[in-house]
Structures are given as C-alpha cells and as structure tokens.
C-alpha cells in the first residue's frame, strides 16, 4: 500500500485578494512535507468554472511547482479532460511530457471526460460524444509520445503529421490512468490497460467488487499504450488526530464543506439527459441525496479518525486490493494549515509503519506493469 495526496484546490468565498494564493501555496507546502513523511504521490485534478469547489484549471502548472520542491514523488496530472472543445490531444500529450521532463520522469497521466454541464457547457462541448472522444484520445496520446512524428484521422479529431514535443523522459511513456466513478467505468479502464483511479470516496465493500472485476479483465486487455498499468488507486479523505471525536468533527466538516460545493454544480445527468451519463458522475458519493436515509451518513472507508481507527480502515482497503490511497487533506481551508500538517505528520508516524517502514516512494511501474508482447 502506498499513500499520496490529491488536490482539488478548493477556495472559500469571499474571493478576497490572496485567498487563491493561500490555498495554492498551502497545498505546495503540504506536498513538500508529505514527501519527507513518506507519501509517494501528489495528484492534481483538472476542473474549470467550479466556483469554490475546484480552482484547479491548470494542474500541470501546480505539479511543475511541486516538482521543484520534491525529488522522488510521483506527480499525477489529472484527471486531464479529454474533450476536443477543451483541449486538443496534442496539447495534453505536450503538457504531460513537459511535466515528465521537468520532474525527471515522475509524471503520471490520468484521463477522463468531465461530468458537469458547468464545465462541458462552458466550453460548448457535446456531452453525448465525450466517451467516444475520450477513447480516441487515450489511444492517440501514447502514440504521440512514442512516435517521432504523429498523424491521425478520426471522428473526434484529425491532424497532419507533426512532431509532438517534448518527448517524455519515462520510456516508453508515463503510466496512464482513467478516472473511475460511474459503475462500469472500471471495465473501460481494464479493457485499455489503464490504471483504475476511483473517485468514489469510501465504500470499501462496494469498491472491492469493482477492483476484482478490474483485476480479472485487465489480464486479457489490449493496452492503448505500450504497457498495461495494472494499478488501483482510490481517492479518500484524511484527517488524523489523537482524539477520535476531534478527528470526526473536523473531518466531517471538511467532507461536508466539499460535498456542499459539489452539489451546487450542474451535473450532466441533471441538465442534459444522455445515454452515456446515466449514473451519477464525478464524485457521485458527494452528491448524495440527503432525503434518502441510507445516504445521510458519511460512507465507510474514510480515513478520518485516530491512528488506530485509520490503520483498520487502511487494512480494509488493502484487503480489497487497493494499491494506492490518495488523500484529500483539506477543502475550502476549513481546517487550518497547521492542523493539516499535524494530521499528515501523525499519519506518517502512527499509521504508515503498519504498512511499510518507508514506501519505496517511486514505484517501479514498468517493472510492475504487465508488458504485453
């Protein structure tokens, strides 16, 4: 089991001068400390127009800053949105490779297609075509990295022969992932040999079945890149405190703060009925209906509690087959920075040793990856 951080860069109103700077630089400070404490990954999502919820519109810039204050951490660019109206696939390949060069080969590349009208509508994107264009992107981008020059004629995009530059440091290319939320998306990841990055925040038993399905299917996959990245990561929340009740109170405030912001966005499934957005999309768990009794409580599997409680929770995830836990450690700055850092330190001191003396930090992905002849 490895541990990392994942950032949405959520910013509280009022948007007074300095508030975004504070959030961004607090997050970088968390990354700097986390590497020293043994955390192996820092991921940063891509979102647009999501007021308060996420101001992370240029994640690779954030990660470039992280690269400058770390030496070993893997840096997850994503979820990069694979939508033509937002970004040409060559631009995504360039940005992923650029980060890989800057970080001396530490980039991870996560893919997805967005699930809100707030984002897709803002760019004039067609929600009904996002799955198709995502599929084209994830097949084209590794070729752009590996081929000297690349050309393509497809449905979502076409381009004449060009050298997509720079080329990544990691050979044949950085590991690729898919954001997995709606049921069945883990199959899409497995079919293409992509890492499974689940964003369902909790629910161990429910996810365990999906992990098992993913593990079985990826063994017979046809990777879209040069290798299958058979790894499962899950986003989660972390607030670790010696006192269980204090942890619960502050952790719950953090989760509720973020959930309330997630709920204000306009989901595709609400605004634009579509066959390819049938289930709750991004962070569906955070958009739970409070009128349904079963949805009221926080889900199981969140890493909120005292060290002993969190050890037990992590063991459950480990038993479910998870490789990597990615923690959200704050939301809209509801927890003061000093307490966030203390939570990370306590987790490192009291929880991590139960799983590894010190993780190897840079996972030897290509050694672990299933190479397909």
């Amino acid at each position: 089991m490895q541990f990392g951080l994942i950032f949405e860069l959520s910013v509280p109103r009022p948007f007074s001068p300095g508030v975004e700077q504070s959030v961004f630089h607090n997050s970088i400070e968390q990354v700097r400390l986390a590497e020293k404490l043994g955390f192996s990954h820092a991921w940063c999502v891509e979102h647009h127009f999501l007021e308060e919820y996420s101001h992370s519109s240029c994640p690779e810039m954030f990660l470039a800053a992280c690269a400058m204050v770390t030496t070993t951490m893997r840096l997850g660019f994503g979820i990069a949105t694979c939508i033509p109206e937002m970004t040409h696939p060559a631009r995504l390949a360039e940005r992923g490779a650029f980060l890989d060069v800057l970080s001396n080969g530490r980039a991870e590349f996560g893919t997805g297609r967005s699930s809100t009208w707030t984002e897709l509508g803002g760019f004039g994107a067609a929600p009904e075509t996002t799955k198709r264009t995502w599929d084209e992107y994830v097949r084209a981008i590794p070729q752009m990295w590996m081929q000297d020059r690349f050309s393509y004629k497809g449905q979502g995009f076409s381009m004449p022969e060009r050298a997509v530059l720079p080329k990544p440091v990691q050979k044949p290319h950085p590991p690729m992932w898919l954001a997995v939320t709606a049921p069945g998306t883990e199959l899409d990841a497995a079919e293409r040999g992509l890492g499974c990055l689940t964003l369902s925040y909790g629910n161990v038993s429910k996810n365990a079945k999906r992990f098992e399905t993913y593990r079985k299917l990826i063994r017979t996959c046809e990777p879209v890149g040069a290798f299958a990245n058979e790894q499962i990561a899950a986003a989660n929340w972390l607030y670790c405190h010696e006192d269980s009740r204090t942890a619960a109170k502050k952790g719950e405030a953090m989760v509720q703060s973020f959930s309330s912001m997630a709920a204000q966005t306009l989901e595709i499934s609400q605004a634009f009925p579509s066959s390819n957005y049938g289930a709750l999309g991004l962070l569906g768990r955070l958009r739970a209906d409070p009128d349904k009794a079963g949805d009221k409580a926080l889900p199981d599997g969140l890493c909120i509690g005292n060290p002993a409680e969190i050890v037990n929770t992590v063991k459950e995830w480990e038993s479910a087959g998870l490789d990597l836990l990615l923690f959200m450690v704050n939301a809209r700055e509801v927890v003061p920075q000093s307490e966030v850092l203390a939570s990370l330190e306590l987790f490192s001191r009291e929880v991590m040793p139960h799983f590894s003396a010190r993780p190897s930090i840079v996972a030897p992905y290509r050694e672990r990856a299933v190479h397909v002849a």
């Binding site: 709920a263 204000q264 609400q270 605004a271 634009f272």
Partner: protein
Amino acid sequence: MSHEPYQILTHLRGGATSASDAGWPDYQSANRSTVTLRNVEIHYVLMEMPMQDALAILPPALHPSVPAHFTMMFHRVPESPVGAFQFAVVGVGCRAGIRPRMLTTAAFATSQASADFLSDHGQFPVRVADVMIRNSYYGIDSSVSTDGRKIVDVTTFALEPVLGGGAAVKFCAPLNPVTYVGNRSLLQVDIGFEYHETARGRLEVRSLDPAVIGPAASMPEFGICGVRSVVDMEFHSDRSIYDANVQSEEGGLTILPDLEAA
C-alpha cells in the same frame, strides 16, 4: 485570509426579499393524498441565465446552481380527476443545501379546474392561460399565451432517444412560495416519476418574455437542451416546507406531519 475556519456553508446565496405578499399565499394543507397522472407528456426545457438574475430572484435559503439556470416544464395530461388539461411551470434551478430544487416563478394551466387541481396539489401559483404542447415530424413545440399574446414559444428538434439510466430525467422538485406560520416559506412538491420514454434534442426559442422568470430578469441567451418524456406523475402529499430566509442546514427545513395518516 478572512474566512471562518470550519465553515460549511457558502456565502453565495440568494437575497430576494421584496416579493409582494400576494406572491406568498397562506399555506393550505389541502394536499392529503397521493394522486397519479398517467401517460403525461412532458416537454422539459433548460436554459442558462445570468447569475445576478438568479441571485435577485432566489430567497436567502436557496443557493443558485452553478451555472445559474432556469427550466420550463410543459405538461400534457390526457386524463385526471379534472379531465384532460395542459400546464406549464417555470422556475429557477437552485439548491436547498445540497438538494437540487426549482423555485417556481410562474405556472399556467388551461382551465380553472386544472388550476385548482394544481393549487390543491402543491399550491402552484397558477394562472389560467392557453398552454399548448404539440408534436410534429421535426420535434415538439410548446407555448404559453395570455391575453392573446404568446409569452413563451419554444421548440425542441432533432430529438434522439435516451436509453438506460439517462432516460430517468432528474426533474427537480418545485418549491412554491407560501406563508407558513407567519414566515415567507417554500412548499416542496414531491412528485414521483415513472418513465416510459425519453428523447433529447436541440432548442429553438422563438419567443420568451423574461418576466415569467422574474420581474427584472434579462433575456436568456444560452440554451442547454430540450427533452421530451412520457411519464406517470405521482403527486405525494405535502412533506416539507423551507423557511425562505433560513438555509436548511441552519434549521430552515420543517418536516410536516403525515397528512395522509391524519
């Protein structure tokens, strides 16, 4: 930074306080039983609107969706306790806490009997008007006319069937303005839907009087989509009322006694 630690609620919230008393009738607990309208054809229209307009319309208890939007729902009811009728409801998309809801700003029905029916089942602020929903080879047309003037005229064309879970359109529960124990309040109308078919298409708005959205609303420019569904609608008895000035997390939600059991 000036924010409060551990804050949960956003600062972005509606501020409308100047609605006339006429728009907030006393709550009448007439809705004591469940009524089902079968095979109702719905034409559902979503459009974006300026955030400032939404904030001006929504009361403090409600948060606008991001982006701000409004909906128009046209209904053709083939059979009901008051016979066949057509009605339309216009509202601003919003959130009560994290619950997706729609603040009703206008409602129209084709007869006094149907207006009374809708008043008895959710206290919709209904005016009698000429509401029309018609299918054609290219899509579905809906309109509302009052005093011989067409105030809404919209078409959804190039309809494509929606399959699977997406066919279960997430219609937001309407919140209708009432006065409850002396406070400006919002009565939630709980409607269950059973979906028979759904298709989505592109919008063409031929005319729209922004006054149906709000007295100072500007003309919306960006459509989202139009949907045609055929559903069974189950109107439940009144269940909950929100204080219009207090967010639900701060105690603004009142759960009503079970009126069906009373």
